[in-house]
């Protein structure tokens, strides 16, 4: 049984590593978007040629951000949950609700992942090109985007399995640490971290 837990733990560590890596890459893309937009504004003001496609590529970056950052946000427990009923429950019920929550995330994650795929499949089979002067083949950004949702579904499943094992074998404190509700906001955490 211990082997199972440690296996799940290691799997979760790997998931966390990949998710954080994806976030780092997207962070870099966001800085690139800032740079490109500023260059575009300056070029336009000077009346010089404009960079084609800044608007278009920024849109793709946002779409990729919207799917690929979800896994890290889930693992960091940063999706907002309302503690109206939760906080008034006894600890056993809270643990159960945490499990209900993570499995609704798993469910929704897979439903989205399975429905993201046809969007890409259709653009691929149809040879769809963006309605812009660059005519980007749409399957390229859509492939990266759809993979992000698939990764989110996988990450949620790994976390779900790990949490169930924790509930069965390790106790409530461990479940709380994995998928419990946090009361602090990420922004405030950051500010405190800075003051230290």
């Amino acid at each position: 049984m211990n082997i199972l837990t440690s296996l799940a733990s290691r799997l979760l560590d790997a998931t966390r590593f990949v998710s954080r890596f994806a976030n780092r890459l997207i962070g870099g893309m966001l800085l690139l978007v800032v740079a490109l937009i500023v260059v575009e504004v300056v070029l336009r003001k000077l009346g010089l040629a404009s960079l084609r496609g800044v608007t278009e590529y920024s849109g793709y970056v946002l779409a990729i951000l919207s799917s690929w950052t979800l896994a890290h946000t889930l693992i960091e427990r940063a999706h907002i949950r309302i503690d109206l009923g939760y906080s008034k429950m006894p600890p056993v019920a809270r643990t159960l609700l945490d499990l209900v929550s993570i499995f609704s995330v798993v469910l929704v994650g897979w439903v989205i992942a399975l429905h993201a795929w046809p969007v890409l499949a259709r653009s691929w089979s149809n040879g769809s090109l963006a309605n812009t002067p660059l005519s980007t083949p749409l399957w390229i950004p859509q492939l990266i985007w759809a993979l992000g949702y698939i990764w989110f579904a996988i990450a949620a499943s790994v976390l779900g399995v790990r949490a169930v094992l924790a509930a069965l074998l390790q106790g409530r404190a461990e479940v709380q640490a994995l998928i419990g509700m946090t009361s602090e906001s990420p922004i405030l955490d950051a500010a405190k971290e800075e003051r230290r």
């Binding site: 336009r44 009346g47 404009s50 608007t55 259709r122 149809n126 769809s128 309605n131 002067p133 005519s135």
Partner: protein, 323 residues
Amino acid sequence: QPISVVGSWSSVSLHKDYELPFWTETLPEASDDRLEVQLSSFDQMGINSADVFRYLSDGLFDIGVTLSDYVVSDAPELEGLDLPMLAVDPIQAEKVSEAFWPIVERTMQSRYGAKLLAIAPNTPQVVFCNTPISGLSDLRNRSVRASGRSTAEFLDALGARSEVMDFSEVPGAMERGVIDCAVTGSLSGYNAGWYDVATHLLPLPIGGWDHAITAANGDFWSGLSTEDQTLIATQARDVFAHGVWSNIADSAEQGIACLTGEGECRAGSPASMTLVATDEADLETAKEILSTKLLPAWASRVDADTRALYNQHVAPLTGLSID
């Protein structure tokens, strides 16, 4: 069970004055109340205008309408229908759209498994500027908001800088000089109050005629009786689309009258934009760009059968054929 129809923009004349009475009154009456319709529009449904036909082929509704310019990502063949300056006047525009029918019909079938029912225009897509211009050549070096890819290509060929921008952002951007000019339908521009920020109107259809395509889901269509199929097809083409086309010259004049005050404006109090006269040289330039840049670019994006259909049906009308 009523037929569910998703119409075009709920705020434009095409929807209010034509789609609404046709689908909710004319067609049910013509069928002796056998057919019942539930009509909404893609903006009211919260559907992105570019996704309408994807949803139609997924079976989310029975009949859908969207503008050909919005779906050229999936169906580049439809871009040909609305190439800038392919048709300069309403009569020619109607003939061109009829000549394109075989291409559009084949495209809707092959891309979406859908049955084409009607092709109807909005108002011509003209140029609004917040800076004095005296003709097409003055767009050189100006930044102009384009309504679609082929319009952008046309503007770039003129030496202008084409920009992509949300319709709702245009007035603010033009007012503050982020852009100099913008292309949109003349009556849409009037209704959205663009005359508050724009001073000059160039009435050439640089963005084409903004064709709306009405089509039916394939499964829905094949589930209808032959009698109903014939009724809907003939009513949509001969009553609905014909009705729009027969008033298009008047709508185009209305757009200009309401924006410039030259002529009688029935839609409200006329604005006083300066109407820029178009001359032969402008038309020549436009035709040159169309035949040397836009048509070849379009031809390279479509298959050989579409090119053959174009040369067979459309080229005799426009005098421009493709290799």
